[in-house]
Amino acid sequence: MIKILLFADLQEKVGKPELELKLEQITVEELKSELQKIYPLINLESVMTAVNEEYAMADDAIKSGDTVAFIPPVSGG
């Protein structure tokens, strides 16, 4: 089970702040494209990814039990 936290406008577009996916292992990039398939409205292209509160790269592996956060940069000021 991988826990996914959605921030800012992702939360709104998916309709909830958290998801759980039954997965054993997957890379960050693969997870992004999986989600993109389920929720075509969201845009994960320029989103930052944290795995267990650490910055993660596209080919980092995510394992069952990990918590992934997708953080869209916001631009206002």
């Binding site: 944290a50 509160e53 650490e54 910055y55 940069p73 916001v74």
Partner: protein
């Protein structure tokens, strides 16, 4: 000094030594919107020696809901934000030395202002400018504090040249400006939450308490009650074009920009000629076209369904359109 800053000197990590440091430092705040005005108020109250304020815009009614320092009078008189901010800050603390500039932030306009700057606070509202700052401040080795907000959310991160990952390391690609305050709105507490983080980091840098600096990136949503931190140590890229070994500074362009641009979500186009304008002469010419409003910094008028605002530095805002073509047509009809 003792009485005025007594509560701040009682705070041990600052103390009397820290207060003396604060009184002798110079902070540049880029942008005097919501983040900029609130950070400026904090630092002026804290007694920072000198503040340089930069903003290209003027105070509008829709700013008052979240932008500290400004009043209805500023809206009525169409005072540029940097100027209105300076006036209020001097009422709060006239011991602070304040330079206010009404200008577009470009490398050309910024470089001469970076001379003795200790820190820059990011109070801009778009990633194009932030990525330009990221290059510029890496090149000039000035620490800066990224901050942004929209809706009830926000983020902040402290960038030390050559030490921490830079903004470019964190962003694989420049984010599309999907969510801005002008498209999905904003509430004032989201501003203050970012500002609380930015000002604290600024104070740590000012008193030279580097060990206490936040090393993670903070994200929060006050309406949905979350607060998340992300450790970014791993993000530093050796071949980063900004902070890597052989930087090319891809977002730092030395050219004077004369291009026009749509101000995202504001139904406004900015035209830049790059030539200074004598507003009084322009007023003499335009007074027969429409009633003119003029102050020391700008000239504005209503024309058809548009509002035009001319600045000294050759910029003109055309409110009421998102079309550069249309804006240029109007501009040349009146000022061409």
């Amino acid at each position: 000094m003792v009485d005025r800053y007594s509560r701040q000197m009682l705070f041990k990590p600052i103390g009397e030594d820290g207060q003396l440091k604060i009184l002798n430092k110079h902070v540049l705040i880029l942008g005097c919107g919501a983040l900029g005005s609130a950070n400026a108020e904090n630092l002026a109250r804290a007694g920072v020696g000198k503040l340089t304020l930069i903003d290209r815009d003027y105070v509008e009614l829709s700013n008052l809901q979240r932008q500290q320092l400004y009043t209805e009078k500023d809206v009525h008189e169409q005072v540029p934000k940097a100027i209105a901010a300076k006036k209020r800050l001097l009422e709060i603390n006239r011991e602070v030395n304040i330079d206010a500039y009404v200008l577009d932030a470009t490398p050309i306009s910024l470089v001469p202002l970076l001379n003795d700057i200790d820190i820059v606070i990011d109070a801009t509202d778009n990633f194009d400018t932030r990525l330009m700052m990221n290059d510029l401040l890496q090149k000039y080795q000035i620490p800066w504090i990224f901050g942004s907000c929209v809706g009830s959310t926000g983020m902040s991160y402290t960038i030390l040249p050559k030490e921490t990952p830079c903004l470019g390391c964190l962003l694989d690609r420049a984010p599309m400006s999907g969510a801005t305050c002008d498209s999905v709105g904003i509430i004032s507490p989201a501003v203050q939450m970012v500002v609380a983080h930015q000002t604290t980091e600024a104070l740590k840098l000012l008193v030279e308490d580097k060990d206490s600096l936040r090393t993670n990136l903070v994200t929060f949503d006050l309406w949905n009650n979350y607060y998340h931190t992300m450790n970014v140590e791993r993000a530093k890229k050796e071949n980063c074009p900004t902070c890597g070994e052989n930087p090319s500074f891809p977002h730092f362009s030395g050219e004077v920009s004369t291009k026009s641009e749509v101000l995202c979500g504001r139904n406004t186009v900015q035209i830049r000629t790059g030539r200074k304008v004598n507003l009084q002469e322009l007023a003499n010419r335009l007074q027969y076209v429409a009633p003119i409003n003029i102050n020391d910094f700008l000239l504005s008028l209503e024309y058809e369904s548009y509002r035009l605002v001319f600045f000294h530095d050759g910029r003109t805002l055309i409110h009421g359109t998102n079309s550069i073509e249309k804006a240029k047509t109007i501009y040349y009809q009146l000022a061409g």
